[in-house]
Point group: C2
Chain length 424, copies 2
């Protein structure tokens, strides 16, 4: 039962008055708090700083003798392929090392499909209609790529163990214009959930009507644990192979939130056939990506154990922030039945659902008190949350003291907006 | 008069015999000499090595306070824009700092035009036919992009001061399907010539039938002088503005052959309208390029004088190689009227024309003696040199002693192939 429904009219008025008092006290502080994007905080960036002090002479020769200061090597240094293949649990011939941005790799993959088609298929731009399935809430930058290229987006509900697979199975098997689905399978953006083995198996066993249907598996948070008991994600490429669908998935990842956002190494993994097909046009697009930065990352992390160890340092900084947010939410909103949220084991976000038709108002009210949240609706295709209830909290970037204030204000706003709904 | 025409049948046979003897002597050495690509040599890469030893702490904060270790900054750091705007003689709001590859920027520009159109125009992929003008001999990687996207290429002859402008003016004014022209205006690839002011002015004053016609001005060798009296190239963007055509040109450059090929900084310059239009989709493609590497370059070079000084070190290494090649060509081929070539003031190539229908045979013969040349025909669209006479010499990469042998073998091959044409 929603807390405000249990109150008398007078008690409700008093409650709102008390909330407004707290709200205005914060407002008077003229704060400027930013929780819009999932950016690492300054302390996180400190821990990787010494990677940039590896001497130049150690960055020159790759293990196969390649001069990393010169042109060449389209798909990545052997040692970079080995490191990131291990991280993604794929073979070294199933990976391409890209530039500094996995988003750019995803964009390129869609752009290539639009102009050139997928593995010899008709270029998507030549088709009357192209659709993508968009498990939502999801990542706004995925949806923005679709919107730019005129790809129609279909919202798929998210459940506690992944997207609604009944809906996905039905749609892809019936509709040839559905060419892809966006997934953030581990510590999902924004829900923070990890797809169950069953969900992964059902993805791998899809029987799409379109031959050139692909799963865009953005494993952005593959090693980004907050807990000592991290979630386990079943390997999608292995599952696809077992199901006889090995060409159906593109996997993406990067070190943006491992080393440096914007100066890390992005990677893409897929079947050998897909990789070879991509390389045919990639070789026209570029001579090769930044090998010096690849070697820098390999020298620094050495192997996946090195990455795992490094990620514990990130977790040590982030865990207290997530805990604090969850504590305040519980303290302010717990038991009131006016909001629900997840307690993620990793990733960069806490996703919160308000009562229906409250999210935009909450975000507006928070903004007026100096707290910038990710735009309400941003987690849905076209920025339209059908029930106007999802808000993505990005607790990583602000310093602890700022974050504390921001979340308190945010929680007050949720209570205010909800309470007013019940005022007769 | 061609030398071999002046010889008696016996003298010609003796000549060929002597050449074959020299050729076979080289062949027996089982050499493996590579002149296929315009790559810097190892000594050139040494001179920039200390850029990579700039301490991490100096690479963190940009002049405007931006944390270069974190996400953000779509179009480049202010100081990077300032440096490269100065290098290209444009304003800081007329430039975008890209990733590690200007080829990738050019590819993206074509890909964007194909999928999304140019400044609101119809996407080129929706048109029945798209054509590009290709001054030839030219850069094979430009032509490869067109071929990949199914853009029909029209060969335009190169003259001593640039492309045949009569032909270009006529074609673009009559044919709406012509959407672009490839140019390497300074120390051109492969001819090594610099466009005259008149040619630049005529480009700027073009009156294309297609509104979305663009000049792709690949100023790859803008500061790559071999002489103390460098060629001067008129500023195309200024010329376009003066002619009322300011949106007609895209300019590209990179530090690939200034700092590190594959780990440098690529840039693109154009009118403010074009730049703003590009940024609208670039912001969907990526959050930003590698700011740490941008700052590294700015700290190292400081300003254009720093780049100019640095390029003198490259010239000191390259000039003797170019001189040696030209000396051997003159000694072996001079006055024989069987080959012609330029003496470039900068850039990375010497372009040589044999007699008609000899280039492929020369390349094959050289290959058999262990000298790999850029594939004959590669300097023309579709790899088809209509008169089969152009060969691109890339003298930068091989060590001097290897280069000497390679060019001598190459010159012997030209004489052999030519002489045999006159054998009755």
């Amino acid at each position: 039962m929603i807390y405000y429904e249990t109150l008398s009219a007078d008690d409700l008025k008093n409650e709102i008055e008390a909330l407004e008092k707290r709200y205005n006290a914060f407002k008077e502080q003229k704060l400027k708090l930013d929780m819009t994007r999932g950016k690492p905080c300054s302390e996180q960036l400190d821990i990787c700083m010494d990677m940039l002090d590896i001497p130049a002479k150690e960055l020159r020769k790759a293990c196969d003798g390649t001069d990393c200061f010169n042109y060449g090597v389209l798909d990545g240094l052997p040692e970079a392929k080995a490191l990131f293949a291990e991280m993604l649990e794929v073979n070294t011939n199933e990976i391409i090392i890209g530039g500094n941005s996995s988003l750019n790799l995803m964009y390129d993959t869609i752009a290539r499909a639009m102009s050139l088609g997928v593995m010899g298929g008709t270029p998507w731009s030549k088709l009357e209609k192209v659709k993508f399935l968009c498990p939502s809430p999801g990542y706004d930058r995925h949806f923005a790529i679709c919107e730019l290229f005129g790809i129609e987006m279909i919202v798929i509900d998210m459940k506690q163990d992944g997207p609604d697979m009944d809906a996905i199975e039905k749609l892809v098997s019936e509709d040839e214009t559905i060419k892809g689905v966006w997934c953030v399978p581990k510590y999902s953006n924004p829900d923070g959930i990890t797809y169950s083995d069953e969900v992964v198996n059902r993805f791998a066993a899809l029987n799409p009507k379109a031959n050139d249907f692909r799963i865009f598996w953005d494993n952005a948070y593959c090693v980004h644990h907050l807990s000592d008991k991290p979630d386990m994600l079943k390997n999608i490429l292995t599952a696809c192979k077992e199901a006889g669908n090995e060409n159906m998935v593109y996997i993406f990842a990067s070190t943006s939130k491992i080393s440096f956002p914007g100066a890390g190494v992005a990677v893409m993994a897929s079947s050998v056939d897909n990789i070879n097909s991509i390389k045919k046009s990639l070789t026209i697009q570029t001579i090769g990506h930044d090998k010096i930065n690849q070697l820098r990352h390999v020298k620094y992390f050495k192997d996946v154990d090195g990455i795992t160890l490094h990620m514990k340092k990130h977790a040590a900084i982030l865990k207290p922030k997530f805990d604090m947010v969850l504590d305040i939410l519980e303290k302010e909103l717990g038991g009131k039945e006016i909001a629900s949220w997840n307690k993620p084991n990793g990733g960069y976000f806490i996703s919160l659902n308000t009562l229906d038709n409250c999210a935009q108002e909450v975000a507006k009210l928070a903004q007026e008190a100096g707290v910038a949240l990710t735009k309400a609706g941003a987690t849905y295709p076209y920025g339209k949350d059908p029930r106007d209830k999802n808000i993505r909290i990005a607790p990583t970037m602000p310093p602890v003291e700022e974050l504390k204030k921001a979340i308190e204000i945010f929680a007050i706003c949720i209570q205010l907006v909800s309470a007013k709904k019940f005022l007769k």
